[in-house]
Structure formats: structure tokens, C-alpha cells
Amino acid sequence: MRTLKSKVLALTALATFSIFSAAIQAAPLKIAGMVPLSGASAATGELYVQAMTYVVNRFNENGGWHGEPIKLEFYDTQESTGVASDRFQQAVAEGMNIIAQGGGSSVAASLSGDVRRWNRRHPDQQVLSFTMGGEAAGLTGENCHFHHFRFATTAAIRVQALMEAMSKTGALGEKVYAINQDYSWGHEMQEAILANADKYDYEVVGKSLHATNKLADFSPYALQSQRSGAQTVVTGNWSRDLLLLLKAIDQSGVDANLATVYLDQPGSIAAAGSAAEGSYIAQVFNAEAAKEKGAAYMEDFKKRIGTYPAGLGNNGVISMMMLTKALSSLPKQDSIDVNRIALALEKAQVDDWPTGTLTMRASDHQLLLPLVVSKVSKDARYKIDNTEYGFKPVQLLSAEQARVPADASCEMQRP
């Protein structure tokens, strides 16, 4: 078992095949979901599997792409660049057209590079690269290329959204402390926090970069932020580094708001408990902010998949919604031409995403999406991880409000 097929998908595919067997058989469009299915991030991978399956099944049930169902297969990257490259070779050998990555910037960067090289050497069998879960700026910056699309946010987008909402509601204050992990993501977070200082009128009173996933005790950092008199602590930390920081800040009685990016990873709220209360987060999706439309999406997803969509899974839904929208705009093709799909994606506009319009910026292939800034609270409508807490929306930012300018270092070679 090297790849994981969704049983549901196989059944739907079978049913649709039998209905349309009379139609002329062009090769079906094949999507390879490159996600971690084992190892430490397996639970994140599962979110993408559910999300992509949800949209693709719905699309296939409605007739697929001109009568042809899309095929979706999953490959386990184990969140390692080496394994992901092997899986990429396997995927192209199996005729995949779209390589959709979820989970980890390093894997996203390596797969985007693999796709770029492959396309250069195989102009007759080109593939597209989708990044659903990599937030490194380079993907739509200096390493951007025509066959790569990003359906996730970046540090610049997340920080700007946090600052916008928090300054508007008066939660931000004038003194901000930045605590981030000492690798590319943390550096980009810190840059974004420094870059927004003038616009939102705050002073960065301190900044710390710490070893990633190595420290066991964050109380010295809590002490630092307290000493600086910061009113808001901003962090891009994820998983255990976020949890440790949350707990350290809570236990030291630091009187500052915490602004986060990854607090909606499954399990984080349960583990942090009351320490998370009052923390802010810039989210890709919050059902409560989208009112009835959000509730309808949540319930439909639950009906088909069995659970509510969560965290990064929403990026999976968004990417497949954009793709299916682009496909629908194309006339019937004899063979699959990914360049035409890419051009259609640049023009695609999704209007039925609950929180607002989704479009793809043609110049750097960065998705422009609405964001929700929320606060961990007991008043939230949807509770997380069986706790009494959930994410209460503070402000819904439209795609226009949430956008940041394209990275000037992106020089895309167009066909």
C-alpha cells in the first residue's frame, strides 16, 4: 500500500463511469495529493485528505469535467523532502497532472522545484504544482514559476490581518513583542511584524528567535516579553512551540494579548486549556464569521465526510474549489493541457466560498482570499476539540482588505 485511495471516491468514480461510459474517453485529470499520512504530522495530512475528497466527490457527482470524473490519489510524504521527491517521481510515472502539496514549507518548496525541473525536461508531459500548506514567501517570490500556485497565506498576509483587526478593536496597544522560531518561517514572521509597525502605529519593543522544537522551557521568553512592557506578543510558532509559549505566558501572569497564526491546529486548544483564552488568531476560515453560509458549508462537509472541516483542511477545500471552477470554464479538450488549466486558474473566481470571493493573482500565482481574525472564547458558536472554547470572530477581512502586494522578486516566465 504505497498510495491511499479513498474508498468513497472509488465508488463514486465507478458510478459515474458507468453512467458516462458512452462518452468519448479522454484521459481523466489526475490529482496527486502529497500529504503526510504517517509520522508526526499525520493528523494534518488527514485534514487535507478529507477536504480534497469533499470537493472532488461533489464535482464528480455533478458530472465531473465534461462527463469525466477527476481522479484523486494520495501519496504519503511523511513530511520529508526526500520522501516527497520519491513520491513525486512515482506520481508523474503514474500520469498525475496536478501535484497538490499539503503540510510543511520545506516539502512545498522541494515539490515546486521538482515540478519546475520536470516541466523543463518534459515539455510534452507537464504538470502543475499546488501549494496548499506552505507559507514560505519564496514560493510566490524568487522561486515562483508559471506552473506553481499557492492556496495558502504567507507570514506577511497573516500578520497584516492580525494587526488590522487588533488595532481596529484596540487590542493591539503600542508595544509589540515578536517571538518566533529561528528558521525561514519565523524570520519572515519577524520581518512582517517589523514592517507593519508604522502602518499600525506600534513599536516593536523586543524580538526573539529561538531554536525550533528544541526548547522545553519558555518561561525565560515570557519573562522577556513582560520586562519589555509589551501589550501584544505576536508569534508564528506552531505545535509544541506554540503550546509551550502559551503556557509559559499564562503561568507567568503576563498581561499581554497573544496574537497567533497556528492556534487552530487540531489539539492545540485542548492541550492549552484556559491558557489559550483571549488569544488572537488570523484564520483562513471561521464558520461563525460567515453566518448561514458558514453553517451550511460546515453541515454539508460533515454530512459527506463525517467531521467538521478544520484548520488547514480549509486550504484543501479552497484549492480544489478554485481548480474545479477553472476546469468548468474550459471547453472540452482532447488531451489534458496543463497550460490552459493554469491560464484558466489565473482568471478563476470562486463566489460560493462562505467568507467571500477567492481569486488568483496572475503575477505571482498567490491566492487572494478573505481572512478571519478570531479570539479564543467560551462564547464561540463552534467549540473546538470537545472543550468549552472556540474561535469567536473579531473581524472578517475581505480578500481586498487582506491582500498584500506581490513580491517584486517574482519574475515569472510565461508560455
Binding site: A40, S41, A42, A43, D182, S208, L209, H210, A211, N213, K214, L215, A216, D217, S219, P220, Y221, L223, Q224, Q226, R227, R240, L243, L244, K247, Q251, S252, G253, D255, Q265, P266, G267, S268, A270, A271, A272, G273, T387
Partner: protein, 315 residues
Amino acid sequence: MVMDYFLVSLLNGVIYGLMLFMVSSGLTLIFGMMGVLNFAHASFYMIGAYIGYLCSLHLGFYAGLVIAPLVVGALGVFSERLLLRRVRPQGHTHELLLTFGLFFIFEEVIKVFFGNFAVPYQVPAGLDFAAFSVGSIEYPFYRLFIGVVALVMFVAILAVLQLTRLGIVVRAAVHRSDMVAALGHNVPTVFTALFGGGAALAGLAGAVAGAFFPTSPTMASDLGTLVFVVVVIGGLGSLSGAVVGALLIGVVTSFAVGLNVSLASLAASLGLGDTLTQMGGLFTVSLSSLAGTIPYLLMLLILLLRPSGLLGERS
């Protein structure tokens, strides 16, 4: 303000050090007496935390402090009696590889039962208050509690080893095991008990510290290498050395976080600051971002200057 900050940093460092000591004490005992480098030792710490969590759900937090060391100790006895003892004739490499394998198995088993994410093991309400305030800084009582448990543990181990008959047998078994056996003591059983005891200590550490630091499947690998560093710095097999090593690491890391100095900023006083800042690289790395690396630098230094560790016996 500076004084307040200094005191709290010192206390943070000392208590983190004591926490490290709780986990390393068993490791250094087992190594010192049996010569076994137990890679799975930090796993015992993790399992202790999970058992503490389970107990806190059903029997209460304090029951966990009793049950966790007992269960983990039993697991240690089981590992030694059924697994380690079989490979002992093949030498230390086999023992090392076996414990290395156990480390992975324990982590995966925990994931199967509790999932990939941290579990909500919380400090009980009765212990969750500020012990005192220094200026605007509140100091959590639970940190002091961790420190006190570690100190009690240190004194108890020392007393058992130095003052009781059992301690004499154990120490003798380490140096002249054949002589002790000839005197009618069952040496393999002594070793098994010792291994179980070391595991139980790690289990207790897990049950105590897991409520404060998140209890997650990665907590073994988080501390795994660090406890080795503590033991190497202190001297393999030396209990007092483990205390000194752990405190050293705790305090140095705690203060390093607050020091935003880099080679470039130091050179600035010599008028070379701008040149070095432009060169970037190593010169602009601030000490605070190296906080996670400092224990390893310390270990390197100790190995160069005093290969047997600070308080280790010279062989």
C-alpha cells in the same frame, strides 16, 4: 527592575535545572551502576506524564504522583528482566540498540492510544496560583513545587545509596559484582530493581512536570538528548554531577535568552561593529537565539577540558 529580573531568571533557571535533574537522575544511576546507556529513559518520563494524565482524569492528580512511578517502574523491571538481560552477554552495543528501539516503540504506542497531539494534562486548581510577585512578575507556585519534588528526590536517593544496607549492596555490586554474588546476593535481581527504580524516578518526573509543560508524544525526544548532555557534563554515573550539570544548563539557558548580544555588537566597542554586521553570518547571530544550542556547547567544552565530566570518576 533589573534585580527583579535577575532573581526571576535565576529561579527559572534553577527550577528548570531541577526538572532536568529529575529525569537525568535515573539515567545516571543506571549508567553508573550497570554501564547501560538507556536511550529509552526519556520515554519513561513521557509515559509517566501520560499515566499522570490518566490518573488526573479518574483518580485525581495526587494519585497520579503515586501510581505513575509504580507503573513506570514496573515497565522498567519488565524491560530489564525480559529484554535487556537477554542481550547483555552480547555487550553494550546490543543493549544500546535495544533501548534505542524501545524509544521508538514507546512513542508510537503512546500515539496509538492518545493521538499525535498534546493531551490536556493541567496543573490542579489547588496548586495553580502565584506563589509570590516580584514587581509585576507573578511566580507560579507549581514551578516551586517541581523544584521541591526534585530536591526531595535527590536527598532520598542519596540517603538510600549512602545510608542503607541496600545501598551498600548496590554500590558493591557495581564495582565487584562477582564478589557480591559470592557473598550470597542475587546480583541480576539487584540490577533489575535498579533499572526499575531509575525508570520509576523518570515516571515521577513525568507525572510532576507533564502537568506544567505540555504532555505530548514528542516530550521524550524533546528531552532525550538534553538529559544525556546533563549526564555527560556531570560525569557519567555521578548523582551529584547530574545535579550540577542540570543546574548549569538551566541557569545558563535562562540567562542567555535575555542577552541580545552578538559577536558584532561586542566588536562594536572596538569600532568593528559595522564591518562585522555587514559580513553577517555567524557575527550577527545573537546569543539569545542560540539558547537551545548552549547545552551542547557546554558539553563540548566539558568533554575537551574534563572528559570524565565535572564530578565523574577518573577511570
